[in-house]
């Protein structure tokens, strides 16, 4: 019986999601559906809950879901740890990636890939295959080889950190990639490289959620849908034109509309 429905299952279905930290409710009833092959942009003013939404999807434990659910491929993620979500194909590109001195970019990515394979009952990726993949993906993101042996994020510029996030995404080939403010701190050249990297990873089988404050990134990663988050709720959805409108008019009219 189940099989019949699989085709109709959305990749990501967020239903009336309420979540927060301790008694502070940040998300106040989010509804969002994302299908394979789609790019969704989530925009909104500071403090609207954008990063919280990203962290909740990725399973950050300090957030408590008080109502509603996050369902991936028909499966409620409620009890899944962040690593289990990663194994199921969820990837979050961090706004502030963490520095890990003494662990190289390569070793970190190897560990991430092999832990994911282990969780799926697969052997470690053969060394030569790993090497080939590292070379291929680093070249496509214009990442220098020397960069790969540096300690993860230690002394990286803002742009290098973001590029490294997208590099990890390229290596891990996630089903659902969430880019949290990936454009912040990037100059226009770095933005173009990062956006190109993301576009190369786009396929009919995966989906991307781009979280951003500005429309700028969306010139390069073109969204199929744009959602505006305000005070923990999606108050408006539209196509890419909505992003342009926001760029011109700011967020105030949305706030007013929401207040009515």
């Amino acid at each position: 019986m189940d099989n019949i429905y699989i085709k109709n299952v959305k990749m990501l279905k967020i239903n009336n999601l309420h979540a927060g930290i301790e008694d502070n409710e940040i998300l106040k009833g989010i509804n969002l559906e994302v299908n394979a092959g789609e790019v969704h942009a989530i925009m909104g003013p500071n403090g609207s809950g954008k990063s919280t939404l990203a962290a909740v999807i990725a399973g950050k434990e300090e957030y408590e879901i008080t109502k509603g659910k996050v369902v991936l491929d028909g499966e409620d993620l409620e009890d899944a740890s962040p690593e289990e979500r990663a194994h199921k194909g969820v990837f979050l590109s961090f706004q502030y990636p963490v520095e890990i001195p003494g662990v190289s970019v390569t070793n970190f990515i190897k560990t991430a890939i092999n832990e994911t394979r282990k969780a799926k009952g697969l052997e470690d990726m053969p060394a030569n295959e790993m090497l080939k993949l590292l070379r291929e993906k680093s070249e496509s993101l214009e990442i220098d080889r020397k960069f790969l042996s540096r300690s993860l994020n230690v002394g990286f510029s803002g742009g290098e950190k973001k590029r490294n996030e997208i590099f990890q995404m390229a290596m891990l080939e996630p089903k659902l990639a969430i880019l949290d403010e990936t454009d912040s701190g990037l100059d226009i050249d770095a933005l173009r490289i990062v956006a190109n990297g993301v576009n190369k990873l786009k396929s009919k089988d995966n989906a991307i959620i781009v979280i951003t404050h500005y429309q700028r990134l969306l010139d390069y990663i073109v969204p199929d849908f744009v959602h505006v988050l305000h005070e923990g709720k999606i108050v408006k959805s539209g196509d890419k034109e909505l992003a342009h409108e926001l760029e011109e008019k700011g967020y105030d009219w949305i706030k007013q509309e929401a207040a009515v």
């Binding site: 990663a86 560990t111 832990e115």
Partner: protein
């Protein structure tokens, strides 16, 4: 009989086995008097507030091992840095093992304290250096001085460097129900000379061992000394390590202490800067569990101007373990332009673990740069989430973060094989395998 009385009354028996005519014996006789007067330190003393020796004093330790025990190399190979060639000075239950050792007199002297104390050719060095920097009133140091007879003796003449690092290993075999060891070592590194030493105390059984060690290190002008202490002993082995280092101008001495085990470990590490442009470095990684206790007491005495000292101790405490860090820096009035840095960071990974950390700065000069910082925290939850979100399970993610936390200290380990050995010990200690060498 309590341990103090036993030790004092054993001194007469000890005298039957050493040359009482040697000038060193006068030093021993003075020392036993001091110990008899002071006894073991108690928690009433500020320096011993957090470390109690009370229960150890109730153990009926043998002061002298009754018979020599033999060990096969294959059985203890793993305790050596066998990946590389080294000189080895090895003791089994306090007695020198020529079978396991590899000493030399080829341009440098890498041999035994007992030989240095008995042969006329070493007399001059002994006269000049023996017990010159070790404390004459700290009771445990004087206890060791009283019974000083065996340990490592290393003399590196001007402009020399031994061909390979030196390993000093002290094994205890459990031949006695409980054994007290008091190794005494003397290391002299002359002008422009260089030395690397790895020291380890290792119990091979669950029988109780108490080691009260004293090492004196003299670094002459421009000398470079790297000293590594690997403390990964069994849960029934206790160590009181007293290391005294005297540095002359432009010398560079680094001591790394890796404390991963043992029952009770007390490290008294004392640097005296008798010259200008001296660099003294003390670094440590401590990773403890069970009811283990480690107490790091460091002292840097800046006596002359234009010198530096660097301290960086990282501690990770789990289960019921307890840690102490007390870093004392004295800057004399004439020691202007001193740069003294001290850093002690700790992570508590269990609610029952405790750490007491205290900087103790006594600065009498006005043109100095001194900084100190202590932190006690838990693992960074955001960092943990970052690693988990990449598919790395929580346990491994925690280990990676702890490793990253300790990494600063490892960076300055100059023997690559030792560095990778320490990384393996850390991974083992944290109970993880990450598919690559940490």
């Amino acid at each position: 009989m309590d341990l103090k009385d036993k030790l004092v009354s054993s001194f007469m028996a000890f005298e039957n086995n050493v040359d009482v005519e040697h000038p060193v014996h006068d030093i021993r006789s003075e020392a036993i008097k001091n110990f008899e007067e002071k006894g073991f330190p108690t928690k009433k003393e500020e320096a011993w507030k957090y470390t109690s020796l009370k229960s150890l004093q109730k153990v009926d330790f043998s002061i002298f091992p009754k018979e020599v025990n033999a060990l096969e190399y294959k059985d203890v190979k793993k305790f050596f840095l066998h990946e590389i060639d080294t000189y080895k000075i090895v003791f089994i239950d306090g007695i020198y093992s020529s079978f396991l050792s590899e000493t030399t007199h080829d341009g440098v002297d890498i041999c035994l304290m007992s030989a240095a104390l008995s042969k006329p050719m070493y007399k001059q060095v002994i006269d000049v250096y023996f017990n010159k920097i070790a404390s004459k009133d700290e009771s445990l140091t004087t206890l060791n001085t009283a019974f000083s007879r065996e340990g490592a003796y290393i003399y590196i003449p001007k402009n020399k460097m031994p061909k390979k690092p030196i390993e000093i290993l002290h094994f205890s075999t459990g031949n006695e129900a409980s054994l007290m060891l008091q190794p005494r070592s003397l290391i002299v590194v002359e002008e422009n000379a260089e030395l690397q030493v790895i020291e380890r105390h290792q119990s091979l059984t669950t029988n109780e061992v108490l080691t009260n060690a004293v090492t004196e290190i003299f670094a002459a002008e421009n000398a470079i000394v790297d000293y590594y202490k690997v403390q990964n002993d069994s849960k029934t082995a206790s160590l009181i390590d007293n290391t005294y280092i005297n540095q002359k101008s432009k010398s560079v001495v680094k001591v790394h202490t890796f404390s991963f085990g043992g029952k009770l470990t007390r490290n008294n590490l004392n640097f005296f800067q008798n010259g200008e442009y001296i660099d003294s470095t003390m670094k440590g990684v401590t990773i403890l569990g069970y009811k283990q206790h480690v107490d790091h007491h460091t002292l840097v005495h800046h006596i002359e101007p234009n010198c530096e000292s660097h301290q960086d101790y990282k501690g990770i405490y789990g289960e019921n373990s307890t840690g102490v860090f007390n870093g004392k820096i004295i800057v004399d009035k004439i020691a202007q332009k001193t740069n003294a840095f001290q850093q002690n960071n700790n992570i508590l990974i269990s609610d029952k673990a405790t750490i007491n950390t205290k900087p103790q700065l006594e600065i009498f000069a006005d043109d100095v740069k001194c900084s100190h910082g202590c932190t006690i925290g838990q693992l960074d939850e955001d960092a943990l989430f970052y690693l988990q979100s990449r598919g790395i399970p929580k346990k491994e993610a925690r280990a990676l973060l702890m490793y990253a936390f300790a990494n600063n200290v490892l960076e300055s380990v100059r023997i690559p094989e030792l560095k990778s050995r320490i990384k393996k010990l850390i991974a083992e200690k944290l109970g993880v395998s990450l598919g690559f060498d940490l």
